[in-house]
C-alpha cells in the first residue's frame, strides 16, 4: 500500500492490496463466527435445557470466558501450533487458519453464554406447553432455537464484533505477514507504528464502516423475515 495515499483515495482507486486485506479480514472473522456457532449454539442450548452436576460452574465458566484476554488466547494457540508444540506437525502457525482458530476460541463463549441465557428464559415461557404436547428433547431444542432466532442473531453479531475488532491474537498467531495474514486490525497497528497516523485512522474508519454495514444487513434480514412471517 502506498504511503502517500490517504485511506479514502485507496478506496476510491480500488486499491487491490486494501481489498485483499478487507477480504481476508472478513473471511477469517466470518469463518471463526461460523465455527463458533456450530459449537456454541448446541452447547448453549444443551446447558440451558439439561440439569447435571457442575452445571452452575460451567455457566460461570462460560460467562467468565466471554472476557478471555485475547493476548492469552493468542499465546496459547501459538504454543500449541508452533513447530515445537503438540500440533506443530500440521504447520498451521502463521496462516489464516491459525487466526480462524484463535478467533473462534474467543467467540465460542460469547455465543454459548448468550444463547444459553436466551434459551433458558424462553424455556420458562414454553415449558408447560411443550411438556403438554409431549415434545422430545431434540424437538424442544429445535423449537426454542428457532423461536429465539432474533435474539440469537444479536449474540452472533456480538461474537462477530469481538472477532473483527481483535488484534492481539491475530498478530501473534498470524504474524502479520504482508499479503497472507495481514488483516485490517494488524494493518492499522502497523501503520500506527510507522507513524503513518492519517492512513491508520482512515483504515480504522473503513473497519468501523464495514462492521456497521454487516450489522445493518443483519437487521435488514430480521425486519424482512418478520414481515414475511406476518
Amino acid at each position: 500500500m502506498s504511503d502517500s495515499l490517504s485511506a479514502w483515495e485507496l478506496i476510491i482507486s480500488g486499491d487491490a492490496t486494501l481489498y485483499a486485506i478487507v477480504r481476508l479480514s472478513l473471511a477469517v472473522s466470518l469463518s471463526a463466527v461460523a465455527i463458533a456457532v456450530l459449537v456454541g449454539l448446541p452447547l448453549g442450548a444443551a446447558v440451558a435445557l439439561t440439569r447435571f452436576r457442575g452445571r452452575t460452574a460451567l455457566i460461570v465458566l462460560l460467562n467468565g470466558f466471554m472476557g478471555l484476554p485475547p493476548v492469552v488466547v493468542g499465546l496459547t494457540v501459538f504454543l500449541l501450533l508452533s513447530r515445537s508444540g503438540p500440533l506443530g506437525v500440521f504447520g498451521i502457525l502463521f496462516t489464516p487458519l491459525a487466526m480462524v482458530i484463535a478467533q473462534a476460541l474467543l467467540v465460542v463463549p460469547i455465543i454459548a453464554s448468550l444463547s444459553r441465557q436466551t434459551i433458558e428464559d424462553l424455556w420458562h415461557e414454553y415449558r408447560d406447553e411443550l411438556t403438554a404436547m409431549n415434545v422430545g428433547a431434540a424437538g424442544r431444542m429445535a423449537t426454542l432455537l428457532w423461536d429465539s432466532r432474533y435474539s440469537l442473531l444479536t449474540a452472533l453479531l456480538a461474537g462477530f464484533g469481538r472477532a473483527a475488532a481483535e488484534v492481539g491474537t491475530v498478530m501473534i498467531v498470524g504474524g502479520n505477514i504482508d499479503g497472507f495474514t495481514r488483516t485490517m486490525t494488524t494493518t492499522i497497528a502497523l501503520e500506527t507504528s510507522k507513524g503513518n497516523l492519517p492512513l491508520a485512522m482512515g483504515l480504522g474508519l473503513i473497519l468501523i464502516t464495514l462492521i456497521l454495514m454487516i450489522n445493518a444487513a443483519a437487521w435488514g434480514v430480521r425486519v424482512w423475515s418478520e414481515q414475511r412471517a406476518g
Binding site: A27, R83, G88, F94, I177, F180, T181, S193, K194, G195
Partner: protein, 278 residues
C-alpha cells in the same frame, strides 16, 4: 441425521475457508523471521518483489525484534532469520539452531531527540558522552526494552558510557517493550530521546518535534546478518528455498538492489556481504 447434517455443514465451511484462503496461499514460499526495522523502513516492500520475480519464491516476513525473531526460529517456526545483533546471532549459531551466518548490509543507529534538546547534546559526535549527559540531566529517554537489536545496542552503549542502567534508571527512563515505530511515537509524545536505526527513522512519518541529535560515532555501526535455520534440528525447514533467499541477498544483484533502495534520495542500507560465512 443431525450428525450427518452437521458434518455436511462442516464440510461446506471447510471448503469455503479453503477456497477463500487459497488465493493467497502459495506452495513455493518461505517464512523469514526478521526485525521491525527492515519492515518498517520499507526495505522488504522493495526487495521481495524483485526476489519473487527472479525465483518465484514468496517470502513471508514475520517482523519482530531480533530476540523474538531468533526465538521464533528456535521453535522451528521460521526458515531463515534476518536480524541485527551479532552477539545474539552467534549464540544462536553456537546452540546449533543456525547453519551459517552471512553479513548482508549495515546502516547506523542515530540518537533522536526533541528540538528543545534538554540534555544539550546536539551535534556532539561522542555517543557515550551524550548518554552520560542524558543521565546527568535526567532527560526523558525511551528504551525499546524488547531484546531487539536496537535494544541490545542501547544497553551496550550505556555500559560503554560507564552507566549501570539497572541501578541508574528512574522516572526519566521509559522502558516501553515495543517496536521501533512505537518507540519513536512515544518519544515524540513525551519529548524524549530514543536510539533508532537510521532506516526506520528516515521512513518514519510522525516526527513532530523530533530530529537527529547525535550521529556519526563509529560505535553506532549496525550490522545485519542472515542465517538459515538448521534443517537437522527442524526437518520442516525449507532449506533449498531458504538458501536461495540467502544466496540472493549476498549476490551482486541482491547487494546492488539493497544499495538502490532510497527514501527522499537517501540510501538506507549499505551492502557489505561476506561470501565467507562465519
Amino acid at each position: 441425521m443431525l450428525n450427518r447434517r452437521l458434518f455436511s455443514a462442516f464440510a461446506a465451511l471447510a471448503f469455503l475457508t479453503a477456497s477463500s484462503f487459497s488465493a493467497v496461499a502459495q506452495d513455493k514460499s518461505i517464512v523469514v523471521a526478521s526485525t521491525t526495522s527492515t519492515q518498517d523502513s520499507g526495505l522488504f516492500d522493495y526487495l521481495l518483489p524483485l526476489f519473487k520475480a527472479k525465483t518465484g519464491i514468496d517470502v513471508k516476513v514475520i517482523a519482530q525484534g531480533t530476540g523474538q525473531a531468533l526465538d521464533t526460529a528456535r521453535r522451528g517456526d521460521a526458515d531463515v532469520v534476518f536480524v541485527h545483533a551479532k552477539a545474539q546471532e552467534e549464540k544462536f549459531l553456537s546452540e546449533g539452531f543456525g547453519v551459517k551466518r552471512y553479513d548482508v548490509m549495515y546502516n547506523d543507529f542515530v540518537l533522536i531527540g526533541p528540538k528543545s534538546d534538554p540534555a544539550g547534546i546536539k551535534g556532539t559526535k561522542d555517543i557515550t558522552a551524550a548518554f552520560a549527559a542524558v543521565l546527568a540531566k535526567q532527560a526523558p529517554f525511551v528504551s525499546r526494552g524488547d531484546k531487539s537489536g536496537t535494544h541490545s545496542a542501547e544497553l551496550k552503549l550505556w555500559k560503554e558510557a560507564g552507566v549501570d542502567i539497572d541501578t541508574a534508571k528512574g522516572e526519566w527512563y521509559r522502558d516501553i517493550g515495543q517496536g521501533m515505530g512505537a518507540a519513536l511515537n512515544t518519544a515524540g509524545a513525551m519529548n524524549a530521546y530514543v536510539l533508532a536505526d537510521r532506516g526506520t527513522w528516515l521512513s518514519f512519518k510522525n516526527r513532530g518535534d523530533l530530529e537527529v541529535v547525535v550521529e556519526g560515532d563509529k560505535r553506532l555501526f549496525n550490522q545485519y546478518g542472515v542465517m538459515l535455520v538448521n534443517p537437522e534440528k527442524f526437518p520442516t525447514v525449507k532449506a533449498d528455498l531458504g538458501q536461495s533467499f540467502i544466496d540472493y541477498l549476498v549476490s551482486d544483484e541482491g547487494q546492488k538492489a539493497i544499495s538502490e533502495y532510497k527514501i527522499d534520495g537517501q540510501q538506507l542500507f549499505f551492502p557489505n556481504a561476506s561470501r565467507d560465512p562465519s
